[in-house]
C-alpha cells in the first residue's frame, strides 16, 4: 500500500468514525435532528445525493467513452473510473435512503412505482445502472477480453446520459419552485455531473499513480472544454433569469448571488469550482500535479453547485407572508444544516470513499507506465 493510499484510508476512516455520531443521531432522533422540515423539505443530504450521483455519472463517462467509443487515451482509466462510479453511486443512494421519512419502505419504490413520477423512474434506472456497473466490473476484471464489454459500455453510456438528465429533470419539472423550473436544469446536471466525475477520477488517478501522460493530456482538454460549457450554461441561466425578472426566480438568484451564503457561490462554485481549475488547466495543465489539484478542487467544490440549486429555491416562500402565518419546528424558510446533518454527510462520503479504497485494494487497477 502506497503512502498516499494509507493517508486516504486514514482520512476515510476518521470521517467514518466521526460521522457515526450523525448516523446514531439520525436513527435515535429521526428527522428532528435535521434543520429541514415542512417549508424547506430538502437539505444537505439531498444535495450530497445529487452530487455523488453526478460524480458517478461523470466517472462512468470516462469508462464508457474509453471502452464503448474506443477512445484509447481513456482506456487506462477504465478500471479506476468504474470503481469510482460504483462507490459514488453507493454513497449517493445511501444519502437519499437515509433522507427518507420511512427508509424501510424503500421497496415500495419498486413494487408500487408510479409511472408519472420521475423519482419512480429513477429508482429503476439506478437499479439498472448499478447492476450494469457490477456486471462491467466483474467482466473487466475477470474476462477483460469479453466481446460483450464494448456494447455494454455503449449501453451504459446511453443509460448514464438518460438518467443524468432525468436526475436534473426531477427538479426541472417542479413548476412550483421557480428556480428549478428550467429546461437548462437537466443539461446543467448532466454537464456538472460529467465535470465533477471526470475531475474525481483525474484526482484519484493522479493520487494513486494511474495517470499516464496521454490520458492526462486528453482529460486536461476534455475537462477544460466541459468547464467552459458549464460557464456558458450558468451564465445563460443566471443572466436570462435576472433580466426576465420573474420575482420568485430573481429572489432565489439574489439569495444565491448576494444572500447570507453568497460565499458558497462566489468562493466555492465559481472560484474554486470553475475559475481556478480553468486557469490551472489552461496555463499549467501539462504538469500532472496541477492536473490533480484542478481535479481535486472541482471534486471538492461540486457540492456547492447542488446546494445552490436545491436550497435557494426552497427558502423563497410560495406565498408571501407564509413565514409568519404559523410558527413552530420545521416551519422556517431559513435553512442551514445542523451538526447532525453535517456529520451524517461526512459519514456517507466516508463510506463511499471506503468502498472505493477497499475495491481498489481488492481489484487493483492498472498502474501508469513510467514515463
Amino acid at each position: 500500500m502506497s503512502k498516499t493510499e494509507k493517508i486516504l484510508w486514514g482520512i476515510a476512516l476518521v470521517g467514518f468514525l466521526v460521522g457515526i455520531a450523525g448516523l446514531i443521531q439520525r436513527f435515535t432522533g429521526g428527522h428532528t435532528v435535521a434543520a429541514y422540515g415542512t417549508y424547506v423539505p430538502w437539505g444537505l443530504w439531498v444535495a450530497v445525493y445529487t452530487t455523488l450521483v453526478g460524480i458517478s455519472i461523470g466517472s462512468f463517462l470516462i469508462a464508457a467513452l474509453g471502452e464503448g467509443l474506443r477512445i484509447r487515451a481513456l482506456q487506462p482509466l477504465t478500471r479506476i473510473a468504474l470503481l469510482t462510479a460504483f462507490a459514488a453511486l453507493a454513497g449517493g443512494l445511501l444519502a437519499i435512503w437515509l433522507d427518507l421519512g420511512h427508509p424501510l419502505r424503500f421497496w415500495k419504490l419498486f413494487l408500487s412505482t408510479s409511472p408519472t413520477s420521475i423519482m419512480g423512474w429513477m429508482a429503476w434506472l439506478y437499479t439498472l445502472y448499478g447492476a450494469l456497473l457490477l456486471v462491467l466490473i466483474y467482466l473487466k476484471w475477470a474476462r477483460p477480453a469479453s466481446p460483450v464489454l464494448p456494447p455494454l459500455f455503449a449501453l451504459g453510456l446511453a443509460l448514464a446520459v438518460i438518467f443524468g438528465g432525468a436526475e436534473g429533470a426531477l427538479f426541472g419539472v417542479v413548476s412550483a419552485q421557480a428556480l428549478w423550473e428550467s429546461a437548462l436544469v437537466p443539461i446543467r446536471f448532466l454537464m456538472e455531473g460529467a465535470v465533477s466525475g471526470i475531475a474525481t477520477v483525474l484526482f484519484l488517478a493522479v493520487l494513486l499513480g494511474h495517470l499516464n501522460s496521454e490520458s492526462g493530456r486528453f482529460l486536461r482538454w476534455m475537462l477544460l472544454g466541459l468547464l467552459l460549457a458549464v460557464v456558458v450554461l450558468e451564465w445563460s441561466e443566471y443572466s436570462t433569469t435576472i433580466y426576465a425578472g420573474v420575482p420568485a426566480r430573481v429572489e432565489s438568484m439574489r439569495l444565491v448571488l448576494f444572500g447570507p451564503f453568497w460565499w458558497v457561490f462566489w468562493i466555492f462554485q465559481i472560484g474554486l469550482g470553475l475559475a481556478v481549475p480553468i486557469l490551472l488547466l489552461a496555463l499549467v495543465g501539462e504538469r500532472t500535479v496541477w492536473l490533480g489539484v484542478a481535479g481535486g478542487l472541482i471534486a471538492f467544490s461540486s457540492l456547492s453547485a447542488k446546494l445552490n440549486l436545491v436550497i435557494p429555491a426552497l427558502v423563497v416562500p410560495e406565498l408571501d407572508g407564509l413565514q409568519m402565518a404559523f410558527t413552530g419546528p420545521g416551519l422556517s424558510f431559513d435553512y442551514f444544516p445542523t451538526l447532525s446533518e453535517w456529520l451524517l454527510a461526512v459519514w456517507i462520503v466516508s463510506v463511499a470513499a471506503l468502498i472505493f479504497l477497499a475495491a481498489h485494494r481488492l481489484l487493483p487497477a492498472e498502474r501508469a507506465r513510467p514515463a
Binding site: 429521526g30 428527522h31 435535521a34 415542512t38 415500495k108 413520477s117 407572508g321 407564509l322
Partner: protein
C-alpha cells in the same frame, strides 16, 4: 298624541324586533360552532357508501340575517351531496376575505380536530399588510389545501401514496408514503407538511402528554401518534376533514369561523351555498396561472 304614542310604540317594537333578530344572528354566529359541533358529533350520518341511512335531525339554529342560517344551509347542502354517488360530488370551499378577522380559530380548530403535532398547521392564516404606517391596511388569508383539480403533488409521488379521490379531495395513504417529500416541493401553495416527529413534550421535557396520545380521526383511521410509526415520517395535509364530511358534518374550520367567513359544500350542486358564492364575480383563486384549478375560492 295617542296616534304619536302608537307610532312610537310601533317604531320601538320594530326596533326591538330588529335588535332581537340582529342579536340573535350575532349570538347564533358565536355559539353556532359549539352548538353545531356538539349536535353534529352525535350524528351518525350516512356514509357515501351507505346512502339512504337516516340522518340525525339538524341542529336548531336561529334564522340568519338573510333568512336561513348559513350553517344550517351548508349542512343541508352537504347531506344532499352525500346522497349522490361519490364521483358526482365536488367538495369546495369559499373564504370571504372581507369577513375574516384573523382570529386563527380555524387554525386552532383544525389542529384540535386532527390532533396535529407542533410545527404543523393544515390551515395557517396569512397576514397581508399593505402600505406604510399610518396609511396601512391588513387582510387575512386562510390557506387550507386547495384540493386542486390538477394537483401537481399527485403525479410526482413515486409510490402512488397520494391521489385525488372521485369527489376531488386529495388524500394520502400514510402506510404507503415513504417520506421522500417530493410532493411538498411540488405544491405551489406550500399546503403539505412533513411530520418530522416532534411532540409538544419535547419542548417541555418528559414523555408525551395524554393529549398528544389521542387518536387522530384523520381518514377514519384513529391513529395514535408514535415516534416510530406513521404518520411520523410522512407528509400530511388538509383533507377538508374528510372524516367529518363522511359523517355528514362540516369541516372543523368552517364550524369554528366566528366571522362566518368560510363556506363549504358541493360545487356540483347549483343549489348549494358554495356554488352560489363561488360563481360571484368577486371570487378569485390563488395562482390561477399555474393551471392547478384550485377548489378553494376567495371572495375579495
Amino acid at each position: 298624541m295617542a296616534q304619536e304614542t302608537q307610532t312610537r310604540i310601533r317604531a320601538m317594537a320594530t326596533r326591538r324586533a330588529f335588535l332581537a333578530r340582529f342579536a340573535s344572528g350575532i349570538f347564533a354566529s358565536l355559539i353556532a360552532p359549539a352548538v353545531a359541533s356538539d349536535v353534529l358529533d352525535q350524528v351518525e350520518a350516512a356514509s357515501p357508501e351507505r346512502p339512504g341511512i337516516d340522518l340525525a335531525p339538524l341542529p336548531e339554529l336561529p334564522e340568519g340575517l338573510n333568512g336561513q342560517h348559513p350553517i344550517e344551509r351548508m349542512i343541508k347542502d352537504l347531506r344532499r351531496a352525500l346522497q349522490k354517488p361519490v364521483d358526482q360530488r365536488r367538495w369546495a370551499m369559499v373564504i370571504d376575505l372581507r369577513k375574516c378577522v384573523g382570529c386563527y380559530a380555524c387554525t386552532v380548530a383544525c389542529i384540535a380536530e386532527n390532533k396535529l403535532p407542533p410545527g404543523m398547521a393544515y390551515r395557517p392564516v396569512i397576514t397581508e399588510t399593505r402600505g406604510t404606517y399610518p396609511n396601512i391596511s391588513r387582510r387575512f388569508i386562510p390557506r387550507p389545501c386547495m384540493q386542486c383539480e390538477n394537483p401537481p403533488c399527485v403525479p410526482v409521488c413515486p409510490v402512488r401514496a397520494t391521489w385525488k379521490r372521485p369527489d376531488g379531495i386529495i388524500v394520502i395513504n400514510y402506510d404507503q408514503c415513504i417520506g421522500c417529500r417530493y410532493c411538498i416541493t411540488a405544491c405551489p401553495y406550500a399546503a403539505r407538511s412533513f411530520d418530522s416527529g416532534y411532540f409538544y413534550s419535547d419542548f417541555e421535557g418528559g414523555s408525551p402528554q395524554p393529549y398528544e396520545l389521542l387518536p387522530s380521526p384523520e381518514y377514519g383511521e384513529g391513529r395514535v401518534r408514535r415516534r416510530d410509526a406513521s404518520p411520523v415520517g410522512n407528509v400530511r395535509k388538509c383533507h377538508f376533514c374528510l372524516h367529518r364530511i363522511e359523517r355528514g358534518e362540516l369541516p372543523a374550520c368552517v364550524l369554528s369561523c366566528m366571522g362566518r367567513a368560510t363556506y363549504f359544500g358541493d360545487l356540483n350542486d347549483p343549489q348549494s351555498l358554495v356554488s352560489e358564492l363561488a360563481s360571484r364575480p368577486n371570487a378569485i383563486r390563488l395562482k390561477e396561472e399555474m393551471g392547478t384549478e384550485p377548489k378553494v375560492f376567495y371572495l375579495v
